[in-house]
């Protein structure tokens, strides 16, 4: 879901950077110093989880899990993903610095949406079916939201010329869409079995 640097015009990059700064500011404000170790550890856990591949056909697909990160981190996904994206630029030459703002919004805004819509449900004790639904929704809103946002940004930036590019983007992310939903549901089920207390740590 990363939009490569060089595709978007400067205006879009600046808008994205400004929105990202606001998001990070809100995320930091809402994170007490007491919650710093927890936030850092979850951020690290999701970063490492994002390196896990799932084989699909001849290739493989990375996990994204931004929806689930939203469940566990809330607004803190903004600073958390900022760190992740920065590391990805350094290590994988993935994306770029000027486009960081845009990519951060693409990943983090759907995650915040998941937090706002679904966050409270983790505080309750849920049945197996409900947990699966919660996990799947988090995955779908997370990845789907990111694809939608990326598409909107491309459309905003390049207009009709980019429609095919957008179609390509959406089509290539359909497997990720499903896989993220399935894995998110699976993770919530496993956590409920192994360490239900963890589910209550959500902000």
């Amino acid at each position: 879901m990363h939009i490569s640097e060089g595709i978007l015009h400067s205006q879009t990059l600046i808008i994205g950077a400004t929105a990202a700064v606001i998001g990070v500011s809100v995320g930091l404000r809402k994170t007490d110093y007491e919650r710093l170790p927890l936030t850092a550890l979850f951020a690290a856990a999701f970063f490492v989880a994002g390196t896990i591949h799932v084989p699909v056909g001849i290739g493989s697909v990375h996990l994204i899990l931004n929806g689930m990160a939203g469940l566990f981190l809330g607004w803190a996904v903004f600073p958390a993903f900022l760190i992740a994206l920065l590391l990805q630029v350094i290590f994988f030459s993935f994306g770029g610095f000027a486009v960081l703002g845009v990519n951060l919004c693409v990943m983090a805004l759907p995650a915040v949406l998941v937090h706002l819509l679904l966050g409270r449900y983790l505080q309750q004790s849920l049945s197996r079916a409900r947990l699966i639904l919660l996990g799947a929704s988090a995955g779908v809103i997370g990845v789907g939201g990111a694809a939608l946002l990326a598409s909107l940004i491309l459309a905003f930036d390049g207009g009709k010329a980019y429609y095919d590019l957008i179609r390509l983007l959406i089509v290539t992310h359909i497997p990720v869409f499903f896989i993220d939903g399935i894995i998110s549901a699976g993770v919530l089920l496993t956590l409920n079995k192994m360490s239900p207390a963890l589910l209550r740590t959500t902000p």
Binding site: S25, V26, R29, L36, A40, S93, F156
Partner: protein, 235 residues
């Protein structure tokens, strides 16, 4: 002594500004000349530092598979005469290809030899809020710890003959792996808090820009301005 401009935190800012500027260039000739310039400089630096050229070449080729895709999607247009060349689209594709490659070379050139520790040090020198810097330092450290755990889990599974495929069992195993990462993260929180306390780290709120009561207003107004700006830019 290296000139100040080569300090890691300046290099970060520089790369950001460069990325922004390059994205504003509409002239393919300029882009091409800049690309040649940067690519040659990169080549010189790579050779002088004894880096494996084959590695970078391979990466560049894989990167350009993506640009190829962009060419394919932008160059054609379906019109009344059927499939035909879309000249404007090709021009855009050319610009994008040149920009993307230029930025790739720029990043490679300016951020060569940057490791995660240097990145963290560079970030801590930037005028960023303390909270973010602490979060950065801790997160990068824990990525190393949890990454090690992840590697061990993957090895242990391989040793027991597990082969990831597109099936239900793989999904279940991967879900378990992610859950274990989160659980380990949780376990580490308590130890981390104790260790921070032992070194005198204060868990109290310090006076910073973020905590000023009027900052929230700044956030909301900027967001509103952005939304209005986007709306008008669209019309």
């Amino acid at each position: 002594m290296k000139p100040a401009i080569f300090q890691p935190h300046f290099r970060l800012i520089f790369t950001f500004v460069l990325g922004l500027s390059v994205s504003a260039i509409q002239n393919p000739q300029w882009l091409l000349s800049l690309l040649c310039l940067t690519a040659s400089a990169l080549l010189v630096v790579l050779i002088r530092q004894g880096k494996p050229l084959a590695f970078y070449l391979r990466r560049a080729l894989i990167f350009n598979l993506f640009t190829l895709l962009i060419w394919l999607t932008l160059s054609w247009k379906i019109s009344e005469n059927g499939l035909e060349w879309h000249v404007a689209g090709m021009h855009t594709a050319l610009l994008i290809t040149l920009r993307m490659n230029l930025i790739l070379c720029t990043i490679w050139l300016w951020l060569i030899n940057m490791t995660d520790s240097i990145l963290v040090q560079a970030v801590s020198k930037l005028p960023l809020p303390d909270k973010l810097i602490h979060l950065f330092i801790l997160t990068v450290r824990y990525i190393s710890l949890l990454g090690e755990l992840n590697r061990q889990m993957a090895q242990a599974m391989k040793a027991r003959g597990f082969q990831p495929k597109f099936n239900r069992r793989t999904f279940s195993v991967i879900a378990q792996r992610v859950a274990l990462l989160l659980i380990q993260a949780m376990v580490q929180v308590e130890k981390s808090e104790m260790a921070l306390k032992a070194r005198g780290f204060r868990f109290a709120s310090r006076s910073s820009l973020l905590d000023k009561p009027w900052w929230k207003t700044v956030e909301i107004s900027t967001a509103l301005l952005l939304i209005i700006g986007i709306y008008y830019a669209q019309r």
